[in-house]
Subunit: 210 residues, 4 copies
DNA sequence: TATGAATGAGAATTCATTCAT
DNA sequence: GATGAATGAATTCTCATTCAT
């Protein structure tokens, strides 16, 4: 009981730090955000941050993982597996854009260079989650005969990278000003890849949204 | 003569700083590299750095632009325009991998977030160069009837982003350990996109290298 | 108790910085004194200075205000108001010289130019205190019929300025070498102003000291 | 001829530096003005400044002396000596205000603390010039029976100090906003001192300005 | 004389981290 | 656990001065 409560409070304090840090990192960037800023935003003392995180970088990693996890969740939606594959590319692309739009300022975190091997492996871990979720979807489709066999892992990886970077360009660099355009063409590329026709053979006739 | 020499010396000093910075940034990362380090590496005084760059960030931008420019050059190779389009994807992908492999440690610079609008616009500029070069190649192919018409600008943008991120993942994250795999599948994705077949319709039969 | 102690310690740390700074500024001047010097003299860490003052200039202002306040206190002595006015000029002049002699090295602070409007207003504030104290003394004398009515505010202002500058000249420039002379004639000028005779009408016959 | 010309050019270059420095010191203050600023303003190279002045402080002294000299000139006006003494206080006060108003921004230089003994002595020198000119005027008046004998040197010194400080307060601190008030009362004080009546004896009936 | 690129000592300031309470 | 005052290493950037041309 007691320990549960404490654990809850611990959880909530840790979360408060993460939320504060996420907000500030997004607003001012990593270097410009101080531990004191984070503590103030989270309504705790500076020293308390160090009870939950070893150092500033550690806080950063916590935040980054949170965000990646949020995106990863999009691909784990069990509803996705029930759809006929022909609807899946749109569902995924829609999902990615929805999450990214909601967390526009956080997208830049996806790109921050990983410095220590620990961060690397943490990042890889999340990345594998995403890739793996995608691959499962593809494998399901192959098994159901909706797709011809292909290297689902690599395609998942590449599509995941493409998604990351389009989100970054669309929301972090261009501030979402051409979201519709990116949405349209990201989807078109993915659908062309899965269903054709190739660029040599003709104009895609998937309904352009709008 | 005289002015040429002076200009040359200026150029060489500026370049010396950029080379030193590039080396150190790649080795230790941006934050861990001090202006003093750079000056030492370049065999000049600290103050001299500030004769050629307004501040540390400015040095960084100089380095980043250098690298982006190096990659952009790949796409401007006039030989590319003479090839039949069917050979172009491979030529481009090969080029990107070659340049990236040579400057492996620098790839991470492609991803560092641009903070000021000035940096943004500088980055956009280089990005547009690349996108534009690609678009020209595609338009040529369309005009020659090698491709059906499509939005060359958006496809160029998307492919450029994909290339960036694959290079980052392949060389910066994975240290080139699976270069061949990325090369194969990046190429396959691009060729599938341009020439088919779609993933629904069948296995690509472009020669897998190896 | 607890809070008192803390507050006391804070006070004492702030004061330690001010005392250290005052000493060093007087010995080496503002520009030649570094924050590191001050911290060393005050037996604290460099960073601690910045817990109590925003920057070096801020420390300087603190010191300057301390000193101005010390001088202002001379004029607020309640004993002054009880004296017959005929004794007041001597009392004031004596007071100014006494304080100035004690803090000879600090007198130069009275003259350092105020740069920001904040400093200006702080300075004005202290200045008004002094002027106001003087004016009150004069008004009392007018009310008691010891003086004819006059613009007490402006005369206070002018006399205060005169005092400042004589102290500066006497102690900061001439190192007190001719203190007696300045004392004599400053007093003579003030008494002549208040009691006559004018320089046209005759030699002052107030006892020259010595 | 040639040497004359060179000497002229030297003179003009030295002067150009002084003019540039005066402008910049007045605008930005001593510390905020760099040698590079001065050189730019004077349209010469940085190194050239060091051909005419040993160091930055030396430039400063040159500027300060220029200004003090300008003020000193007011008191040397031979017309002053021809006036009946009763008109002299007004003439002097008017002169001081006129010069000060014209060089409002420079007034602050009168107060900058002298740091080296060399500067001190330079400053003393100019100060003595002024004091001496005043003393001469007073002595003339005494000899002509217009004033009773008094210590002309000390009174000159004190009045000179008073003038400096009133100018500083009036123009540097208050930006000339209450010039008229200061003019009126500075004059009144001086005239009261010379001609009476004392503050005990009555209201001054010298025409208040206008 | 004149130049101005190069120098490098030096200073202010910041802030992650600690630890006594 | 929680606090936040204190720390002090470390860094960027400035700018007076020099000197080869």
């Amino acid at each position: 009981m007691e320990s549960d409560k404490l654990s809850d409070e611990s959880r909530s304090k840790r979360d408060a730090i993460l939320v504060a840090a996420r907000t500030l990192f997004a607003k001012k960037g990593y270097e410009e955000t101080t531990i004191a800023d984070i503590a103030r935003e989270a309504n705790i003392a500076v020293g308390t941050v160090y009870l939950y995180f070893r150092n500033k970088r550690d806080v950063y990693i916590g935040v980054a993982i949170d965000i990646e996890e949020m995106i990863a969740a999009t691909f784990r939606d069990p509803e996705l597996l029930k759809l006929p594959f022909v609807q899946i590319p749109r569902a995924i692309v829609d999902g990615i854009f929805r999450v990214s739009r909601e967390h526009m300022n956080l997208i830049s975190f996806l790109q921050v260079d990983m410095q220590t091997s620990e961060e690397m492996s943490q990042h890889k871990h999340t990345n594998e989650h995403i890739t793996c979720s995608l691959a499962k979807i593809f494998q399901g489709a192959i098994e159901r005969g909706e797709l011809a066999p292909f290297n689902t892992e690599m395609y998942s990886q590449i599509l995941s990278l493409l998604g990351d970077n389009i989100m970054y360009q669309c929301f972090a660099v261009e501030k979402g000003e051409r979201e519709e355009l990116y949405h349209t063409y990201f989807l078109e590329v993915v659908e062309r890849l899965f269903f054709g026709p190739s660029l040599r053979d003709g104009q895609a006739n998937y309904s352009k949204d709008g």
